[in-house]
Amino acid sequence: MQASTPAANASHGEHLLSLYRTMARIRAFENAAEEASRGSVAAFGATSDAAALVRGPLHLSTGQEAVAAGVCANLARSDYLTSTHRGHGHTLAKGADTTAMMCELFGRAAGSNKGKGGSMHIADFGVGMLGANGVVAAGIPIAVGAAHSAKIRGSRAIVACFFGDGAINRGPFLEGLNWAKIFELPVLFVCEDNRYSATTATDAMTAGEGAAARARGIGLPAETVDGNDVLAVDAAARELVARIRAGGGPQFLHALTYRVKGHVSVDAAAYRDQGEVEQALESDPLKLAGQRLAALGIAAGRIAAADAEARAEIEAAVAAAHAARPPEPAEAYADIQDTGAGQWR
């Protein structure tokens, strides 16, 4: 997909720079969240520190930015997206405001979920991001329903449905793909394969040739892509999204990447080989994209500026989250259900 004329190179470079910006913003967000989450949760031998600013299990998408950025670059604001417990990158790439996101992680009333969800339930319905989910694979049926709804309502919206490599072993994977295909729904399924399911290497838990083969077994066209190469993800997603918008029914993208961090921020991932991590870091998506940008003639200063802007944006978000107020206790009794709201005894 390398362009050959200088003009094409330049436009290619600008496009990649915009993808790079998204990745840099995600990276900065994850780094800041990680920083604020020390002692966030009692698990993996860590003890919980009541003073942690970001509380509870925090799942970082560090190193997986190219999947979110490459796919979401092909979505409109009116399109929908469902995500997993590891959803910051998808949410940001779909257009959510990073201050509202960081406020949510800090448990502030100004958070995107008013402090009710936290990291695992990050969402911004305003940009079509229908929610991260604490239950593996649970977003799949919801995505399928949103697509079914779009079809029934005659809307042109499509749905991007992200899930991990571990999710393809849960029932909703089969049920959801089958459903999307028989009703020919506008869904792009994205298996973000970071090779781990919590502390377990997914490969040994997965029979057959994996995600794409399963999708084909259910009748869906499926592509596999280097998920650390943002241009490759972008190109594959563009093609699949075009097919969906043309009425081609559900499509499947299997993106190969790597979980650079532990399962949650307090997990040192002692169960895996450090060499494996170091090797994976060689193909860090930001690093790869940076090299490619240079090759396409984008000045080093512009890349550095993108990094700096991303960091500045996130620092401001963190400062705002620090300053923001927590929800009032009374807020705990709101937004439960209308018939019966307040009847909480």
Binding site: Y80, T82, G111, S112, N113, K114, G115, K116, G117, H121, A123, D124, F125, G126, L130, G131, N133, G134, V135, A138, I140, P141, I142, A143, V144, G145, A146, A147, H148, S149, A150, I152, R153, A157, G171, P172, E175, G176, N178, W179, I182, A334, D335, I336, Q337, D338, T339, G340, Q343, W344
Partner: protein, 324 residues
């Protein structure tokens, strides 16, 4: 009109009035195995009365996605027992959505999960799990006992903006009764099905008919029993129940569901806390429902049995212990 037809009419009217209302589930296109969707696909088409694969988890999960994006799905699960394949979707996804996402979205879906012992169908088709859903924040729980209420309450449930677990009774589909439309029943309102002064008997679903029969017998024996049909299990009508119980000074709750940790415990405990009056429950034995009639009958409560309990309770000669 029978109980199934009453629901069918409520759904048809809602679909005519509001293009956002859709129905989905197994065998709805052929009218539902109990006739509770008869004629709907013919009238509204397969795009709105949606036949689905046998995929309970995805039927319910897809309904959540539909509800979040502008539709008002009515979800068919045939019996509550099969909905056990969709519990994550009901409890973790539908019920918590509005709250967990800070009110960004709403999930206006109605999940039809019929309860009750279904004659001859044994343990996996005979459960009554209304107490489970009453325990889950975010869910409204409804259990209509008559054709009229199946019409009125299904109408109200579809109009509710949050998830409703709608529990018809597996053995009431054929029950005949008058249905007056338009209806006025609101969610959360119980109904005094028979006025009385010696005791308050709270019940719901099919057990209402058993209770009315027992109350009739009791009346002939000089005991005046007020029968309240709860209709909505959550939020339950505390005012009506407590007002009645404060008057009669005795509260009995009868339900077909297993007594242990059943919803009767909530009502009895509340009355004991609030009024300090004698309370008593008559509920199903904590046994799976057996197939043979004698076994199935052991899991049911008959009108004579209920009458017997009413009399013991009225005389203060129930199983209250001597050490009290």
């Amino acid at each position: 009109m029978n109980y199934a037809q009453a629901a069918c009419q409520a759904l048809a009217e809602a679909m005519r009035a509001d293009a956002r209302v859709v129905a989905l589930g197994e065998d709805v296109g052929t009218g539902g195995v109990f006739g509770q969707y008869r004629g709907l696909q013919q009238e509204f088409g397969a795009a709105r009365v949606i036949d689905t694969p046998i995929s309970e988890a995805t039927i319910m999960g897809a309904a959540v996605g539909m509800a979040l994006t502008g539709l008002r799905p009515v979800v068919e699960m045939r019996v509550v027992d099969f909905a056990l394949c969709a519990i994550d979707e009901i409890v973790n996804q539908a019920a918590k959505n509005r709250y967990m996402f800070g009110g960004q979205g709403r999930v206006p879906l109605v999940a039809r999960l019929p309860i009750g012992i279904w004659s001859g169908s044994a343990a996996q088709h005979s459960q009554s799990l209304e107490a489970w859903f009453a325990h889950i924040p975010g869910l409204v729980v409804v259990a209509p006992a008559t054709p009229q209420d199946n019409y009125s309450l299904l109408t109200a449930a579809i109009a509710c903006g949050d998830p409703v677990v709608y529990m018809e009774h597996k053995e009431l589909w054929g029950m005949q009764g008058e249905v007056a439309a338009p209806s006025s029943a609101a969610l959360g309102q119980a109904r005094v099905a028979r006025a009385g002064s010696d005791m308050t008997l709270v019940t719901w679903s099919r057990m209402l008919h058993t209770a009315l029969a027992a109350a009739e017998q009791a009346a002939q024996q000089g005991l005046s029993v007020e029968v309240i049909d709860l209709r909505t299990i959550w939020p339950w009508d505390r005012e009506l129940v407590l007002e009645s119980a404060a008057r009669t000074r005795r509260l009995l709750v009868a339900h077909e569901s297993v007594q242990a940790a059943g919803f009767g415990a909530e009502i009895a405990a509340t009355a004991a806390e609030e009024l300090g009056i004698p309370v008593k429950r008559v509920g199903g034995a904590r046994i799976p429902v057996g197939y043979a009639r004698a076994l199935e009958d052991a899991a049911r409560i008959s009108a004579p049995q209920l009458l017997q309990e009413i009399k013991l309770f009225a005389n203060g000669a129930d199983r209250r212990r001597s050490m009290a």
